[in-house]
Symmetry: C2
Subunit: 353 residues, 2 copies
């Protein structure tokens, strides 16, 4: 008997394999099911652990992503998970499997990116594993961080009437991806049709002017340490939080499912950059769909008690996009013309068909 | 400019990339260069972290290794690193990248092995990442453990006159690997030459009777928790320790280099199982070479002060194989006929030619 994994998808498979796992150690406070696991080895602090496995051809395309950016991004996606629990990252381990086409210089570039990301976030590289691969590059990073004991912010703490907040803006990384994919195709087509050396020399590099923000969001995402620090400064303890890696819709549904509640988010309040809007127009894509499902934003999505309304409005770079409701009301988007649409997780799922 | 990675090898590359890394956080006690990193988040305990990345076709062969064994072994190789610091493992994270040929049932088998290993060692599975891969299977496991503050055993603590000890016996996992590879070839040859269905039906399964120990050592290695507990019970604090994954020679050289000392090990004292000896004879291989360089034993190699001589002789399953000397004497094997050979690291190095 062989059941295709695509029938379950990523979250279905994980749930299927791990649902019967029982935690045995008192040092394990929280296991599978959030951005990080939470461990307790001392009195004052809880430890956060998160890990990601990035595979060439699935998670990144070296045709346009330079090794240095890849190193930087690989760290950021993990740090983002630590911040998403309200914690501060402290260490990472880095494992790499390399095929023969990679050189020492490639690895130096990769490590330059790693180190830059670590310096910016005061994180130590404390170990790892470097080995070979039959094809392509595999990158596995584990990040470890800390949070004051009992202050880790889970996905399951949202309560009715809580306000839903999001940092930065959404959809730009996805538009950056679309742009890069389009230019890659154009480039390959030019190479295919060029018949003489002169024609090959004449192949133009794509012009990305006016699109810099989209590229930066795709190729050099920033984990939102600043937002965590600002929330602490403002004395705000979010009731639930996660980072947006698979798209706002998908993540909102995680929070609502785990918190056993519903939500209303308002289309007009979803923060979107001007370049994202222009690009969506150019590609004839629905802008709201891109912002809801695009993924790779690495912004923070969180809920705060309604009593913190005034405080949160003072926090720069955070936008209120809706509120939490009781479970029976479901999860819905309210459009500009006041129509209500059920939110669906159409975000990225590498194990779905 | 492109320098082939093979010119540096695994340890050379890691050293090249990480030599200039400076640790920034007070919570980081020890970074790259041992079996684990050592972190400090509380008063009484230090935290150990280790990680491994296993790639199909490089680290395991699913032609003969069942998924359940692969799950078990993947955990053991990480737990072994925690024990190698004198600690107790508490949690693991498990990341998997799967190509389309894997089914839900394959993953269930893999998780059965994972869970069995975790139960036996009282370890919690606390998180991970499950994603897709273009080809084959990639497994990344991070293990977290604890050790009493200040009691982590590093590679760099061996002192002149210390006794060199090893648990269990060596070379069996390597002989198991040789046996499996031989039988795989025989099997494929039979399939190639079989012309009729009857001939195909007649292809015999290999007979492994009398070789069970070799297969078990290769396919179901056991991390030596028992030895750590026995050493604690006997009141012995090793001065240096690591686990034997790449071969005794290679690991001894790591300890001597990092401890700035030399060593003498005695061929006649190296513990070798009867089945290992028979198999080496049959394959016309040098037995001592297999025991020195075979790898994948996952036994513990450690040094103790000479004052603990009597105590260590009482510990079951541990054998004295030599002693530490001053650095200028180098690292040597004394053969049965009293000849002295310099020890060389000929162990497994996935990034060497």
């Amino acid at each position: 008997m062989a059941t295709e994994i695509a029938t379950l998808g990523e979250f279905g498979l994980i749930n299927h394999l791990t649902k019967s796992i029982e935690l045995q150690n008192p040092e394990t406070r929280y296991g599978i099911g959030d951005d990080c696991a939470v461990l307790k080895y001392g009195e004052d602090k809880d430890i956060l652990v998160t890990t990601d496995l990035l595979m060439e051809g699935v998670h990144f395309d070296l045709t346009y992503l330079p090794m240095k950016h890849l190193g930087y991004k690989s760290v950021m996606v993990n740090l983002s998970d630590i911040y998403a629990m309200g914690g501060m990252p402290k260490q990472i381990t880095v494992s790499l499997a390399l095929s023969k086409r990679f050189s020492v210089e490639d690895m130096e570039d990769f490590y330059d990116g790693l180190r830059l990301a670590c310096e910016e976030h005061q994180v130590d590289i404390v170990g790892g594993d470097t080995t070979s691969s039959r094809t392509g590059l595999a990158i596995s990073i584990t990040a470890i961080g800390e949070v004051e004991h009992g202050k880790a912010i889970f996905r399951n703490g949202a309560k009715e009437t809580d306000l839903i907040c999001v940092s930065g803006d959404l959809g730009a990384a996805y538009m950056g991806f679309q742009l890069l994919e389009r230019e890659k195709e154009v480039y390959y087509k030019q190479i295919e049709t060029a018949k003489t050396d002169a024609e090959r020399m004449a192949i133009s590099q794509p012009d990305f002017s006016g699109r810099e923000y989209l590229l930066e969001r795709q190729m050099k995402p920033e984990a939102r340490r600043d937002i965590i620090l600002k929330l602490r400064e403002a004395g705000i303890q979010p009731t639930a939080m996660m980072d947006i890696s698979d798209g706002l819709s998908s993540e909102l549904l995680h929070i609502c499912t785990q918190s056993k509640c519903g939500c209303r988010v308002y289309e007009e309040r979803i923060p979107i950059d001007y370049q994202t809007a222009v690009m969506a127009e150019e590609l004839n894509m629905n802008l709201t769909t891109a912002a809801l499902n695009g993924g790779e934003d690495y912004e923070l999505l969180f809920t705060v008690p309604i009593a913190d309304h005034e405080k949160i409005e003072q926090v720069e770079g955070v936008k209120l996009i809706g509120h939490i409701t009781k479970e029976s009301l479901g999860c819905a988007l309210i459009t500009r013309d006041d129509a209500e649409f059920e939110l669906k997780a159409q975000g990225w799922n590498p194990l779905k068909k």
